[in-house]
Symmetry: C2
């Protein structure tokens, strides 16, 4: 495996395709860099890509500025239902929770599902699994932020990692879409749509209009083209299909050679990335900003 050469690692994380409000630039940049640092620490110590994705996403779930975990959107009933997924490129195993309630870290519940027979759990069943496996009950009041009471959001955070053993992983976590019907899920927990990882190919994670990403099965599309097009062009071609369906979005990916790429056609897309080849952390609020720098 090309990427499997010793001591190489790569990580890219994103904080969502949401429009950036004035005054939010700094906390977004700091937050996404904190997530990168958390995931990177795992990879530099020789930890797994799955653990790196989980660590990065947990950081974003804890930060109220991101729509995942604490700071999740409120649905039409004023409640919080969250989705998260993790996929392990070693064996293409998946762990996924959809419309889960009352947990602080949906991505960690998703991770706990990886070794199980049932790998996608939804609704009350997902929350029951979390309770049975020691995840603390967290009331909506503790996940709700003033910002989310006021704003309309649809958004997802994500991470894609390559570890020093040559293994890939992808992860997603979202607080959903403000004001949406109870039980609504988008692409985030769905393998092939919001995320995918396969050691033979690479890994990818999407954010944006969840219904459109699911209808287009965008992550699978990237997996089919990334070897030829490279990660950035592959994601560009994928998100280009969203506007005709009435949506936009962004994605992050790492290909089999360890190349990092990202693209978006949403107004903003907060990313940070680093690798063993380019260890200086980079963070951008949009592709336009990256081009200007």
């Amino acid at each position: 495996m090309i990427a499997g050469s010793r001591r190489r690692w790569a990580l890219i994380v994103h904080g969502g395709a949401k429009p950036m409000e004035p005054g939010e630039e700094q906390p977004n940049r700091e937050g996404i860099l904190a997530a990168l640092a958390a995931g990177r620490a795992v990879l530099e110590k020789g930890g797994t890509a799955i653990d790196a994705c989980e660590a990065a996403i947990r950081t974003l779930e804890d930060l109220p500025i991101f729509n995942a975990g604490t700071g999740s959107a409120l649905n039409a009933a004023g409640g919080i239902e969250m989705c998260a997924g993790l996929m392990d490129g070693r064996d293409r195993q998946v762990g996924s929770v959809a419309a889960i309630r009352n947990v602080a870290h949906p991505v960690s519940v998703a991770k706990r599902l990886l070794p199980e027979k049932e790998i996608v759990l939804v609704g009350d069943g997902a929350a029951l699994f979390a309770r049975e496996h020691g995840f603390e009950y967290v009331p909506d009041a503790a996940l709700r932020t003033e910002k989310m009471v006021l704003e309309h959001e649809h958004d997802t955070v994500g991470a894609v990692a390559l570890d020093q053993s040559g293994n890939f992983a992808a992860g997603t976590s979202t607080g959903g879409l403000s004001g949406s019907r109870v039980g609504r899920i988008g692409d985030s927990p769905l393998p092939g749509s919001g995320l995918y990882a396969d050691n033979e190919v690479g890994a990818v994670s999407f954010s944006g209009d969840g219904e459109s990403i699911a209808r287009l099965v965008l992550a699978s599309q990237v997996m089919a083209t990334i070897a030829k097009d490279g990660p950035e062009e592959s994601i560009r071609k994928a998100v280009r299909q969203l506007p005709p369906l009435g949506g936009d979005g962004g994605g992050i990916a790492i290909d089999r050679r360890g190349n990092i790429g990202w693209h978006h056609n949403s107004p903003a897309f907060v990313v940070a990335f680093a690798s063993s080849d380019a260890p200086e952390p980079k963070a951008y609020l949009s592709k336009e900003e990256e081009r200007r720098v």
Copy 2:
């Protein structure tokens, strides 16, 4: 569009990849032919592929011998949670319900979601949507059959149709996996995994080991290869990937030219099909039976 030539239609339905029990051959054969007749009646009158898939799947949901609607499997809590999906090849719109309770026809709830903004609803939210849109509350006792109390099943029914206007659709419905965790879902409600439809390509529907089909995003794989390989070979290549992941299954598809194909590596796979070119209904309990005839 090649398949769009007037008055051409095609329909294939399946009753699942479950092992056939002694004495079940006849009711399976009769049931799948009844489903074919219901869908075909829609197509012959010039109705839509979506309506044909719904009509065929409703028939299977009503028949207790199939694990969908009445006759659904019981989960670990002794309850019934069902999943269903429909996809319209005209615009790749999706309607999908996952782990829905207390409805007789999950596929019709999925259909009702097609024009909505939220297109995938899970758990209590899916049931709430059904109540709000006039779907009758059906207690578990009315969906439960003696057979399902005794047996272990994992299974899905499905339909793929091409209508006289050249439009494709695919559908799925399942009562889930006996004894599974509450909230467990498989591939059936997931576009790209259990089903896909795109007028430019064709349509496909899968049944079998739901976790493995979802991890492989099998429906998307078929959409990528069906033009080159044809429907049967395309499905054969897809299901061949299941045993290494510990599963098996079967699929049905129609390609852009209107060719019908199916394949399975499960012990049995109950199908029926007909088209304007070959209007005599065919029904088989396995590929092996088709080869013998």
